[in-house]
């Protein structure tokens, strides 16, 4: 670990001041401290924002949900409103990490977490995300767990978050506060595909803070849930995952929100799957037909070809779990 300064701030103004001077925000620290130990991250100044008043879960006027950036994963998962309105969020959170980590890690930090690509986390390996211009060791290396969607020749690392997949599916909005004031960014635009600049991962401006993630109101009844496929049963990242929310009225699917995890450089929204669902009646045949589109555009690597079919099956399974059918 390299030497750094550490400051605690108690209001957003002080946080933004420190951020403007180049401070790195830290809350639960479950990603950043890990990466600092490995010297992947070498911030000179840490600004601890844990004490900022961003820890509430509130229902918005339109009936959506606003989750403060500093709400702990465990708190968000257990929150009665989250559980009642968006089980997909609770499930995604509860299938993440371990109980200890969920008690520390925050929602804002969760969507900011960095990839598990082992070349990124090994400072002796080439990695464009860690050190732009050094190359991507994973592209022709060991890439079983890497992305098949949204990749570029410069980076094939997955985004590791589960709850971000639920946020992507539900078309959440990220609330930001910066030196120039507040703004909101659609979730789909917040996390960036690597392209030729894999070190740039979020649409954040210098010194900006995440203050909340807002889930829009969706027509009710809404059934939703998260399926995570992984090598071991707990404490493990996804090989593939699917977040599904369906609004079915009069026997017809009126709204479908579907995204996949473990397969994309960012949480991967599946509009082609959604398109095949809307206006249709639930059936096993429909789930299969819709899920056929889940891996559209996939560019598998030598070790992760299996993810293409596994992704389709994961989406198909979760459509059936949520939408029912026989």
């Amino acid at each position: 670990m390299h030497p750094f300064s550490y400051t605690r701030v108690s209001d957003t103004r002080a946080a933004l001041d420190a951020g403007r001077r180049g401070g790195r925000y830290i809350a639960g620290g479950t990603t950043l401290v890990d990466l600092m130990r490995e010297t992947v991250e070498r911030p000179r100044a840490l600004v601890d924002i844990s004490a900022l008043p961003l820890r509430e879960v509130t229902v918005t006027r339109r009936g959506g949900l606003r989750i403060g950036a500093l709400v702990r994963m465990a708190e968000a998962a257990a929150h009665p409103r989250v559980r009642a309105l968006y089980p997909v969020i609770s499930q995604a959170l509860e299938l993440s990490a371990s109980a200890q980590l969920r008690n520390m890690a925050t929602i804002g930090g969760n969507i900011m977490q960095r990839t598990r690509c082992s070349y990124f986390r090994d400072v002796t390996a080439a990695c464009n995300k860690r050190e732009p211009g050094t190359g991507c060791a994973a592209l022709h290396g060991v890439n079983r767990t890497h992305a098949i969607l949204g990749t570029s020749d410069d980076c094939v690392a997955t985004h590791p978050s589960d709850v971000a997949v639920a946020f992507a599916a539900l078309e959440a909005t990220v609330h930001l506060l910066g030196p120039a004031g507040e703004r909101t960014v659609p979730f789909a635009d917040f996390l960036l595909e690597p392209g030729s600049t894999p070190s740039r991962e979020q649409a954040l401006r210098p010194g900006e803070l995440i203050t909340a993630v807002e889930i829009p109101a969706l027509p009710r009844p809404l059934k939703s849930g998260y399926l995570k496929v992984r090598d071991r049963q707990s404490y493990e990242f996804a090989l593939t995952s699917a977040a599904v929310a369906l609004h079915i009225r009069g026997g017809v699917i009126r709204e479908a929100k579907v995204a996949a995890g473990g397969v994309g450089t960012v949480p991967w929204k599946l509009p082609a799957v959604e398109g095949r669902l809307i206006g249709q009646r639930p059936s096993d045949a429909l789930w299969t037909t819709a899920a056929e589109r889940a891996a559209d555009g996939a560019r598998p690597l030598p070790h992760n070809r299996f993810k293409v079919e596994l992704l389709r099956r994961t989406v198909e399974r979760q459509l059936r779990v949520i939408g029912g059918g026989k």
Partner: protein, 721 residues
């Protein structure tokens, strides 16, 4: 009986290697090579040296003087020498050490050391490099009968190739050493499974007499074999302490645990078998090759099972190693046996399916009456009973033998069995016991407790032999100054050290009895010594507990502060018996074949392990063995990027071991009994046995569930889609 050291452990008072509080200690951090093969062309330490608190950086450029006297190591070859040349032999090889007043400074400084290399392309892939014959005399070509001929004329012939991944031991406690010099004398607090081995190696490396080295290792936080050797970091700690004239502490990082402290090697293992239609094996040929380093030829006991497990008239074995640009492997729980058992026991399941014979029945049809490799009688072999007891408890008779025959929603359910077997390895040990005037005893031997429960089981043996309550007996271990004991490996501790402790305590009890029967004031005066027994802290006449006295009274009246005795035990040089422990492993899995998920539902192990000294410890060993086997079968895999020899999952987030959710309902049953042909306390081996046979039982259950035979470990999603 709970662990006697349980309270110390759960309250954090048990001192593991890095926990010892040594006055004036400074901290060392190793700098690892970032290439797998080549030469070091430069080491720039300027930035590190400039940091406040850095005391020194040592590398081969300093030409540190180390004697490296000959000292028999475990493997043929030349052991890795620390900082003696510019050659890089594997990724992660120690190339320098930084010492600083704080750990944080040392870590930062280590990161600032810039090492440059002339790198060469390494070979790290077992399947793409030439093999050589395994090291004599440990790996021997074996033939009995004519296996090729018998294969050619067999009713049924099957040829299979199995591949096992490299596994790392991954104990919770990372390797650590504290070294302190007092003049020419060296003391180390070390994580080790062999205090005397570490003592001898340090004496040889530093060119000092063995009696000038003392090694202390009172607690070990798991090892599974990886602390059976004195690895480079131990030498580095002692070297740094010598060069700087300060006690030095060096703890490996979790990442470094994948570089220099051994691993279970990857295997490619070809097995051919011939059988009659009725399931009598006629031939087996074993062609195995596994990875080793270029500087040492690793070996492990991978041939015994193929020779003795089943009554096969024609057998041939050929063992090869593949020297690679990797570090040397090290024995890992059930070494050799575990890998061979996966192959043989999966093959038996394949044959059972091919012939339409129940897999247990197939094994029973090939049960030998004597050891087919030596013609010796078995000391005890109760494998039939293991299967009978296990089949009943597991509900084996309810099984539909057809693959894919049982479904539960999206899950295919399957069950499988396998045999486990491990030899009764015996060593030599000595012990010392002292009975004090207050009626308490202290017994010691230079053995180890890697979490297996040695403190507890030896206390039990000693208390039993002395006739003292457990709480009045203290057992001490983990100090090279104590009476010698063998490494804690190969499941030999209970039998070997236990027998020595019993011998020692028998002698001590006899001393007390002699003192009593010769003492006119003793109620035991004049009684035949053979008629006196001990119990509850007293000596008394056999069958007449009222006639006797306490040890305390006996010693006080005779003005003795204590009695003491030294005892020992060694096995007969040429036992007449073939001695092995046996297990029947049963597994039930659920497989979501659409999603490639395998979930263990339950496991049962039934063991013929001789006498069980401590049922709770034995149960704990068995559960741990099943967990280890589940890991090997479904999760564990050290992954190397063969382009540059990099281990890409050198951490516990990416190297998967089972978590609690993966290990439901594990049951262990030990058959009642004992084996006094093996040793005086009637125990057989246990710690390795309990992991052998777990992986094949699971793989066979996966086949039964899905109809898909996976011959590579671990079994992961992509193999099942």
């Amino acid at each position: 009986m709970s662990r006697v050291d349980g309270r110390l452990k759960v309250t954090g008072q048990a001192k593991y290697a890095a926990d010892h509080d040594i006055d004036g200690v400074v901290h060392a951090v190793v700098v690892d090579s970032s290439v797998a093969r080549g030469r070091i062309t430069g080491i720039d330490t300027r930035a590190a040296d400039a940091l406040h608190g850095v005391l020194g950086v040592i590398s081969h450029l300093d030409r540190p003087s180390l004697a490296y006297r000959d000292n028999p190591g475990p493997f043929p070859g030349r052991r890795l020498r620390v900082f003696q040349d510019d050659a890089v032999r594997f990724m992660g090889q120690p190339v320098a050490v930084v010492v600083a007043t704080t750990l944080e400074t040392a870590q930062h400084a280590a990161d600032l050391v810039k090492v440059s290399y002339a790198a060469e392309t390494p070979s790290t892939d077992l399947t793409r490099s030439p093999a050589v014959d395994g090291p004599a005399p440990f790996a021997r070509p074996y033939t009995r009968g004519d296996a090729q001929e018998a294969l050619g004329s067999a009713d049924v012939r099957m040829d299979m190739t199995y591949r096992l991944s490299r596994n790392h031991h991954n104990p919770m406690e990372t390797q650590a050493t504290i070294a302190r010099w007092d003049g020419g004398r060296l003391t180390v607090w070390d994580k080790t499974q062999h205090v005397l081995g570490t003592r001898n190696e340090l004496a040889a490396v530093f060119g000092i007499p063995q009696e000038n080295v003392r090694v202390l290792s009172p607690f070990v936080g798991g090892a599974f074999g990886n602390a059976l050797r004195t690895w480079p970091h131990v030498t580095i700690a002692a070297l740094a302490a010598r060069e700087l004239g300060r006690p030095v502490k060096l703890a490996l990082t979790r990442r470094q645990m994948y570089f220099t402290v051994g691993y279970r090697p990857a295997y490619e293992y070809k097995l051919s078998l011939g059988s009659t239609r009725r399931g009598r094996l006629t031939a087996m040929t074993h062609e195995m090759k596994y990875e080793t380093s270029r500087y040492e030829q690793f070996w492990e006991a991978n041939q015994a099972l193929g020779q003795m497990l089943y009554a096969v008239p024609n057998v041939s074995q050929h063992v090869q190693t593949v020297p690679l640009d990797v570090s040397t492997p090290m024995w890992m729980r059930g070494p050799g046996y575990g890998s061979a058992a996966f192959v043989i026991e999966t093959a038996m399941d394949e044959l059972a399916h091919e012939l339409g014979i129940d897999p247990i029945e197939l094994r029973l049809r090939n049960e030998p009456g004597e050891d087919p490799s030596t013609q010796q009688p078995f000391s005890t072999r109760r494998l039939r009973e293991c299967f009978r007891v296990g089949a009943r408890a597991f509900g084996w008779h309810r099984r539909d033998p057809r693959p894919r025959s049982t479904r539960d929603g999206d899950w295919l359910i399957g069950t499988g069995v396998a045999t486990g077997c491990y030899d009764v390895f015996l060593g030599q040990a000595e012990a010392h016991a002292r009975l004090d005037a207050d009626g308490t005893a202290v017994v010691q031997s230079a053995t180890h407790d890697t979490g297996t429960g040695t403190y507890t089981s030896m206390t039990q043996v000693a208390a039993d032999a002395l006739g003292l309550p457990m709480r009045q007996v203290t057992f001490r271990l983990g100090d090279s100054a104590m009476p010698p004991a063998p490494p804690q490996g190969a499941s030999q501790t209970m039998a070997t050290v236990g027998s020595a402790v019993q011998d020692t305590c028998d002698k001590l009890r006899q001393q007390a009895i002699t003192l009593a029967v010769e003492d006119e004031r003793s109620p035991l005066h004049g009684v035949d010594a053979d008629d006196v027994v001990a119990g509850g802290g007293r000596l008394h006449v056999k069958g007449a507990p009222a006639r006797g006295e306490t040890y305390r009274r006996l010693l006080a009246r005779n003005h003795r502060t204590h009695l003491e005795a030294r005892g020992s035990w060694a096995p007969e040089e040429n036992s007449r018996f073939s001695m092995y422990g046996y297990a029947a492993m049963f597994a039930e899995v659920a497989v979501d074949a659409r999603l490639g998920l395998v979930r263990v539902r339950r496991m049962l192990g039934v063991y013929d392990a001789g006498r069980i000294i401590s049922p709770k410890l034995a149960e704990s060993q068995a559960v741990g063995g099943m967990v280890g086997g589940i890991g090997a079968a479904l999760l564990e895999h050290t992954v190397t990027d063969h382009r540059d020899g990099r281990i890409v999952n050198a951490n516990l987030a990416d190297y998967l071991v089972p978590v609690n959710a993966d290990i439901p309902d594990l049951k262990a049953v030990y058959l009642d009994g004992e084996d006094y042909k093996a040793d005086p306390i009637g125990v057989k081996s246990l710690g390795e046995l309990v992991q052998i046979g777990v992986a094949p039982a699971l793989a066979n259950a996966v086949f039964h569930a899905t109809g898909r035979r996976v011959r590579n470990l671990p079994i992961t999603a992509e193999a099942l889609l």
